[in-house]
């Protein structure tokens, strides 16, 4: 048998914080690519929801252009909520979340890596697909870059906030509906500033101001949300 069972790893053996985060990130990315439908479903949902609005309101592009930012953001929000359900669900069930809490490294840091992976797999694809939905809703070509940027930052902030409610609802039977009810009020600031930024982008006006506010929320979320999510995870493990 290899190393002495009772000797703690030597200093060179202990991975750095960055290594640890990288491991957690890679694990989730690798897992997602083995189960590709979990990436595809939120995107499909986003596409379906976006399609519902013209069907429900009007096929006229000028009118659709008016409401396009709102439609894109609400659809992205709903798709993100759908994707949040599986952020912690599997790990909680198979005991790997527990091992994260017991590995002796900062759980906050590990959850940050998990949330980042989640965004790469759900939020970022949404942001990249959104321009197409935007065009379908009459968005001008010059706005497409703005749509990607605003939705990318917004979905990132959403993943961070959503991690808190996803962790809080671990172990409850009602999961999804409750998760949405908890996340939406917390997500309102993101929605307001994000939609406004996208709207300004579509009107070819400078959208720096709301974008900065949105980015500020993302930063705030980055610093505070994983802390709250870690606390919520520990509560769920009790």
């Amino acid at each position: 048998m290899n190393a002495t069972a009772a000797a703690l790893p030597s200093r060179e053996d202990i991975p750095s914080a960055l290594d640890v985060a990288g491991l957690a990130l890679m694990r989730d990315l690798r897992l997602a690519f083995r189960k590709r439908d979990e990436i595809a479903q939120p995107l499909a949902f986003f596409a379906v929801v976006t399609t519902l609005f013209p069907l429900a309101i009007t096929p006229e592009l000028p009118r659709l252009r008016e409401i396009a930012p709102g439609v894109l953001w609400v659809a992205a929000l709903l798709a993100a909520l759908l994707a949040l359900e599986h952020l912690f669900r599997d790990d909680a069930r198979d005991g790997t979340l527990e091992q994260y809490a017991l590995c002796g490294r900062s759980l906050t840091w590990l959850l940050y890596a998990k949330t980042a992976a989640h965004w790469i797999l759900t939020g970022l694809p949404l942001a990249l697909v959104a321009p197409f939905a935007g065009m379908a809703l009459g968005a001008p070509v010059h706005a497409l870059g703005g749509i990607v940027i605003t939705l990318a930052i917004g979905t990132f902030a959403l993943s961070l906030i959503g991690a808190i409610s996803a962790a809080l609802t671990l172990g409850t039977r009602r999961g999804g509906m409750l998760l949405s009810l908890l996340t939406l009020p917390l997500a309102v600031p993101i929605l307001i500033f994000g939609a406004q930024a996208t709207d300004l982008a579509m009107r070819a006006r400078g959208f720096a101001a709301p974008l900065e506010l949105l980015a500020a929320f993302a930063v705030l979320g980055v610093t505070l949300a994983p802390l709250a999510a870690a606390a919520a995870v520990r509560i769920s493990l009790e």
Binding site: G171, T172, L178, L181, P185, P189, A232
Partner: protein, 246 residues
């Protein structure tokens, strides 16, 4: 069961007895103040030169709106205390606050809406205050929903406490963003749910009485709920049988 290392307010029997003793001290003054305030506001105060009798809504709307926020703050603080120092009584306080706060929020929305009709001609308007109240209601409902989703009381306490604390941090942010959102689209109609622009002492005095009266009323109701909550949580303990016998 040793409660000795808790502050004495952490002791459920103590809190129960205290709540029982204090309730009338809050309930009666509350009733008096509210009656006086209603009389002063609805009968005595002269109509506003600009809004006529419509402004009188502030005598119910303002206290309920103010309390809906204050109760959420108290709930958040109690939740934080329960979370950090693991005091069960703090969790009981937070749990008791939530339904009361939600009710006040609904009342604020209802009064805002009802009295809005004669003012603007519609029952609902997306002005910053009403919109913030609505989102506050969703925060309350989320808290109550999370609580009821757990069978284990301890899990319910701790999870909902964390939610309340997060919500408390979020409330100013949400309010700020709603005000910002509303100011963007200001233009055609000034929909602010304000009261009269000039307050005379005859208008203000009843308003203060109503605010104080409602606050005392809230405390009285909270104490009553708290007693029930403590009894429910401690029903297996011996002191409960003695307390209920008296």
């Amino acid at each position: 069961m040793s409660w000795t290392w808790f502050h004495r307010f952490g002791s459920p029997p103590h809190v129960y007895r205290l709540a029982r003793r204090l309730t009338p001290w809050f309930a009666w003054p509350a009733a008096l103040l509210i009656l006086a305030g209603l009389y002063g506001g609805l009968v005595l105060a002269p109509p506003d030169y600009q809004q006529g009798d419509g402004f009188r809504m502030i005598y119910v709307h303002v206290p309920t709106a103010y309390l809906s926020i204050m109760i959420y703050t108290i709930m958040g603080v109690a939740a934080a205390v329960g979370l950090i120092w693991r005091m069960k009584v703090a969790h009981a306080v937070a749990a008791s606050c939530a339904p009361i706060g939600a009710s006040f929020t609904v009342a604020a929305l209802a009064t805002g809406s009802l009295f809005g009709k004669p003012m603007w001609g519609t029952y609902w308007a997306w002005d910053p205050r009403l919109t913030s109240e609505l989102l506050l209601l969703f925060l309350y409902l989320g808290y109550l929903g999370l609580r009821s989703a757990f069978d284990d009381l301890q899990r319910a306490d701790r999870a909902s406490a964390l939610l309340a604390v997060v919500g408390l941090v979020d409330v100013p942010i949400v309010h700020f963003s709603v005000v910002w959102w509303n100011s963007l689209h200001q233009g055609s109609s000034l929909l602010r749910l304000g009261g009269p622009t000039i307050y005379s002492p005859a208008m203000l005095a009843p308003l203060l009485m109503m605010i104080c009266g409602f606050t005392l009323y809230f405390v009285a109701i909270l104490l009553m709920r708290l007693r029930g909550e403590v009894l429910r949580r401690e029903r297996a303990a011996s002191w409960v049988k003695e307390a209920l016998a008296t």
